[in-house]
């Protein structure tokens, strides 16, 4: 009886060893392919990230909110100017100032944001002309809607490449451009998205479309960037359309005017400048 048991155990052990060997072989065989695919997705994103960017910019944007009921569309526009400057002082990543000029009721309303490298929240101030006062405010959670638009604060901030895992899953044509399709799965879980499907222009490494999936893997927003224009060394997305599939609403951002590398002084990003119209 013991002999039988011993033989069975030996057979089982041998089979187990064979199975492990087989799995190891499969893994070893597939590993270069998986690694290659990951590197490929990441390298495309790195190329996109390495496109030359200005040290500062001033952009006038028309923001149109479009709601649709049946066949009827209604739209309402705002005009705003954003001024941004990159920082490499070890404390701040970026300082930005956003000022509304239309509709006229909110003319002069402005936000100042200091995006700190290590802080949990950004420093943010709001200037309301009716109060004539600069108010320190709590920076909104990244998941929240930006000023009632279909963009969230997260959508408008630059996302570090290390926060996602990128997988090249194919190719396709978007806005008449041959694109890579890259699936971005967040490694850092403080995001509203389960994943993002990013379409990157094969020729110039420009983002042309992003499909946003929730944590139940359902697509709920689509960002389209149909047009890019090259101004000197820099590419500018002249139009961005964010469609919210849940409520049939969309937000269109159209660049009206842009200036790069003006060597903006630090006092542009202070309370004093916030109050100037």
């Amino acid at each position: 009886m013991n002999k039988i048991n011993h033989k069975l155990q030996l057979l089982y052990k041998n089979k187990l060893i064979d199975s492990i060997k087989l799995y190891l072989l499969i893994i070893l065989f597939l590993f270069p392919i998986i690694t290659n695919a990951q590197q490929s997705g990441l390298s495309i994103m790195q190329k996109m990230d390495q496109l030359k960017k200005p040290s500062d910019s001033e952009t006038k944007i028309k923001m149109t909110l479009v709601s649709k009921k049946g066949d009827k569309e209604r739209s309402r526009s705002r005009v705003l100017t954003t001024i941004e400057k990159k920082y490499e002082d070890g404390i701040y990543k970026l300082k930005s100032l956003l000022r509304f000029s239309e509709p006229k009721e909110v003319n002069g309303t402005a936000f100042l944001t200091w995006d700190r490298i290590d802080a949990k929240f950004d420093d943010q101030w709001l200037y309301l002309p009716a109060l004539k006062k600069v108010k320190r405010i709590r920076a909104k959670d990244k998941e929240r809607s930006f000023m009632g638009t279909d963009f969230s604060y997260e959508d408008l901030s630059a996302r570090d490449l290390k926060f996602d895992e990128y997988e090249l899953i194919g190719e396709g044509i978007v806005h008449g451009t041959q694109c890579y399709k890259i699936n971005a799965i967040p490694l850092e879980k403080r995001t509203q998205y389960g994943s993002r499907l990013i379409w990157v222009d094969k020729e110039n490494f420009l983002m042309k479309r992003v499909e946003f999936y929730n944590k139940k893997e359902m697509v709920f927003k689509i960002l389209d960037i149909p047009d890019h224009v090259k101004n000197g060394d820099y590419w500018t997305a002249t139009k961005m359309i964010m469609k919210n599939l849940k409520n049939n609403h969309r937000t269109e951002l159209t660049v009206l005017k842009v200036k790069y590398d003006q060597n903006l002084k630090d006092n542009v990003f202070t309370e004093s400048f916030l109050k100037r119209n």
């Binding site: 509709p103 006229k104 009721e105 009716a130 006062k133 108010k135």
Partner: protein
């Protein structure tokens, strides 16, 4: 001179001009009997600015209009020159300043007098511009602001307005105008972690008059006439304000200590009547506001303010102006001459507010409830604004005061008749 004018004209030609403004047509109807409330309102306002490099010239002008009888007058609310060097800002001219961290009802903000016709507006809408020189210096996470006012300005009260229940029938004669018109203030603000803290000091004369002397004349035996003579106390305000964050809540707070004293009367030996008695008052009172604010996921702003004021210490003396002998007269009720205008309504009040914008900026809803925690009384106001076209807004607001039937002196009881429904058509340009 011609050369300077020419250079100035050429500079203005290269300046960037910006403007914005508002037309408002307004009607107010009393809820009790549907009659019209005829108070003046700003029918037109224009903000005009010139920018030339680091220099701005700003003006805010307007037309104040009364529907019935139809009358209007031009108002220059602000006109100042601002220079923005790298270290801060310098401004000179007629300006409206804003100190403190709470949204309106700021006890530490005493530089500008208040216009009581616009008592229920928030922010700069209810302030009167003062000629002043101000400078703000930024250093690290801190800034220091200084303000000098060479010319005194008082509050504007709706005297003789039968449609405003708290109105005084006639404007009282100010027998003792402010002699030392110079006023000054400083404010130091700094950021510590995620919090902002401000310390301020302001010295000036009260914006509202108070009793300074009494001329007591005896007509027949034991029958006397009292003529109250008004002037302004000198007040030193020490303030503290802060903003901090606890989770998703924002806390804003302000507290101010007012040391108010009657200056010694300058009397004319030959003209001062022998029946004049001088009133000397030395009073310390405090005001505070604690605000908690929360923004929901759909950007609805909810806020609560606890507003309080109390007298800390009071001393007074009556004495005969010529003989300087003390007399045993009673002190009149104390009225603060500076600080938050809400203090006239209640010693302790809770103000709850909410506001939100919906339908892609077309619909705006606002609501406020002020409850008097000291005595009975409350005020409710609700507003619906709808924008059918861009820059146009139709707005209707209901304001309702509820007082105490058993207390006819209660401010909310007096204001009950002011409960109204207002309708505004606003065009912004």
């Amino acid at each position: 001179m011609k050369k300077i004018t020419f250079i100035f004209s050429i500079s203005l030609m290269f300046a960037q001009v910006n403007y914005s403004g508002e037309f408002t047509a307004k009607s107010m109807t009393r809820i009790s009997n549907k009659s019209q409330i005829n108070l003046p309102y700003r029918i037109f306002s224009l903000n005009l600015g010139y920018t030339l490099g680091s220099i701005d010239i700003n003006t805010v002008t307007g037309i104040e209009y009364r529907n019935n009888p139809s009358e209007s007058n031009y108002v220059l609310r602000e006109a100042y020159l601002a220079y923005y060097p790298e270290w801060g800002e310098v401004k000179f001219g007629k300006q409206i300043h804003a100190w403190g961290s709470a949204d309106g009802n700021n006890p530490t903000d005493n530089i500008n007098p208040y216009d009581y016709y616009y008592l229920f507006k928030i922010g700069e809408g209810r302030k009167i511009g003062v000629i002043s020189f101000s400078s703000k210096l930024y250093f690290g996470n801190s800034n220091l602001e200084g303000v000098i006012i060479p010319k005194y300005e008082k509050n504007r009260f709706p005297y003789g307005e039968k449609d405003f229940p708290l109105s005084i029938p006639t404007e009282p004669e100010i027998k003792y105008p402010v002699e030392n018109e110079y006023e000054f203030g400083f404010r130091l603000q700094t950021t510590i972690g995620e919090s902002d803290i401000g310390l301020s000091l302001f010295r000036g004369s009260d914006r509202a008059p108070s009793l300074r002397a009494a001329n007591i004349t005896y007509e027949v035996e034991n029958e006397f006439q009292i003529e109250s003579l008004l002037g302004y106390r000198e007040t030193l305000v020490t303030g503290l304000d802060f903003v901090t964050f606890i989770g998703d809540l924002t806390l804003r707070g302000e507290a101010a200590l007012f040391r108010s004293r009657s200056p010694i009367l300058v009397l004319n030996l030959f003209k001062t009547p022998l029946s004049l008695y001088e009133f000397q008052q030395d009073i310390t009172y405090s005001q505070y506001v604690l605000q908690v604010e929360y923004t929901t996921n759909s950007d609805i702003l909810l806020s609560g303010q606890l507003i309080g004021n109390s007298v800390q210490d009071e001393a007074y003396e009556w004495y005969h102006s010529s003989s300087r002998e003390y007399v045993d007269f009673a002190s009149p009720d104390f009225q603060p001459g500076m600080g938050n205008p809400i203090a006239m309504f209640s010693e302790l009040a809770l103000l709850l507010s909410s506001s939100g914008v919906f339908m892609d900026d077309r619909l705006e809803l606002k609501g406020n409830i002020m409850t008097n925690l000291d005595e009975k009384g409350n005020m409710f106001s609700g507003s619906i604004g709808y924008s059918p076209w861009i820059n146009w807004k139709l707005e209707t607001t209901i304001t309702k005061f509820n007082g105490d039937k058993d207390d006819l002196d209660n401010t909310f009881t007096i204001m009950e008749d002011f409960s109204n429904l207002s309708f505004n058509i606003i065009y912004n340009f």
